[in-house]
């Protein structure tokens, strides 16, 4: 199967062991300077396209009939999570650094997640309170 529609995001001139992931490639080779050193990545929008098409389709089909996609999406989620794990397992530098810095990382993460959850909770409370 020729996945030509996905190809623009992979750069063949990068050595295969050192291949970058998609987001990094986007960052590396498709950006627009918007003054004052700010760079906007246009290809970041590649995920917005299927989302907007999906929402439009759903909106148009709304009056037609009920569509049950629960089962379909769980199957694709499994595929996605498997390939995510695959990328993690293939990432040698990441796996090697785990035992070195793991403990510090866990402590840092506890604070980061705690503060993030509390601030988001407070911000949403404030937004709703203003309504």
């Amino acid at each position: 199967m020729d996945l030509f529609f996905l190809r623009p995001f992979s750069s063949s001139n990068v050595p295969s062991r050192e291949r970058l992931n998609l987001k990094q490639m986007i960052l590396a080779d498709c950006s627009v300077r918007a003054g004052a050193g700010f760079v906007i990545d246009l290809r970041m929008l590649y995920l917005v396209v299927p989302l907007v098409i999906g929402i439009s389709f759903g909106y148009l089909l709304r009056e037609r009939r009920k569509v049950n996609l629960g089962k379909v999406s769980l199957g694709v989620i499994i595929v996605l999570i498997f390939s995510l794990g695959f990328g993690i397992g293939s990432n040698g530098p990441l796996l090697r650094s785990l035992p070195e810095v793991g403990l510090d990382a866990v402590v840092i993460l506890v604070f980061v997640l705690g503060f993030s959850v509390v601030l988001v909770w407070a911000a949403m409370k404030l937004v709703r309170w203003n309504d």
């Binding site: 987001k23 970041m44 999906g54 407070a122």
Partner: protein, 202 residues
């Protein structure tokens, strides 16, 4: 459902590890890039479809409107503040730890970028902190969703526009789609800038 997701993750890690050591590089690249992005594009379309079909989600979304953008702002502040406090607790360099936590879970960016700025050891920390953030978002979702509806989005950071989005939508409902996606999108755009900006402080 979470057990299927965690099993798929663990199996993926094992197979990816075996493949990277004894398998084919091209097959590995094919799975972690083409299969990953193909599945992601299908999921985004399906989630968009379900969202568009659901009258309630759309009207809830309309009601909240642009106020939804307070979420990425709160996550960014929380992450950087968490970095500051944890650096003080652990006795680490405050500015460098802040750059690590300003990756918002995007480990393939934060690892190399922080590594380039402050050397391999900080790069390793940038890798692991952000990688564990993504991992924890997925693994603990059935618990965090009980704390607060938006807690999984806060945990996910920049990853809520891709890897963790389907899992979040599955657990938090279709009306969380736009909140999660826009938060992940904003934080993904912001991560390189905030890392560089904080690094400039030190």
């Amino acid at each position: 459902m979470i057990k299927y997701i965690v099993s798929a993750l663990v199996l993926g890690i094992v197979v990816g590890y075996l493949n990277s050591n004894w398998g084919s590089v091209d097959a590995g690249f094919w799975v972690s890039d083409y299969v990953f992005n193909g599945a992601l594009i299908v999921l985004l379309f399906v989630m968009g479809l379900v969202f568009g079909l659901d009258k309630e989600s759309v009207s809830k979304m309309r009601k909240t409107g642009l106020k939804i953008l307070v979420i990425p702002l709160a996550v960014a502040l929380g992450s950087i503040l968490g970095g500051t406090v944890s650096a003080l607790v652990l006795g680490l360099d405050v500015v460098k730890t802040m750059t690590v936590t300003a990756g918002y879970g995007w480990y393939t960016l934060a690892g190399p970028l922080v590594g380039q700025l402050f050397g391999a050891q900080w790069g390793a920390l940038g890798f692991v902190v952000n990688f564990l953030r993504e991992l924890l978002t997925i693994v603990t979702i059935s618990l965090t969703v009980k704390i607060d509806k938006y807690a999984p989005i806060a945990l996910g950071g920049a990853t809520t526009m891709d890897t963790t989005l389907p899992v979040i939508v599955r657990y938090c409902g279709s009306d969380s789609l736009i909140a999660a996606f826009s938060s992940g999108f904003t934080l993904s755009m912001a991560a390189p800038f905030t890392i560089m900006a904080i690094a400039a402080l030190g």
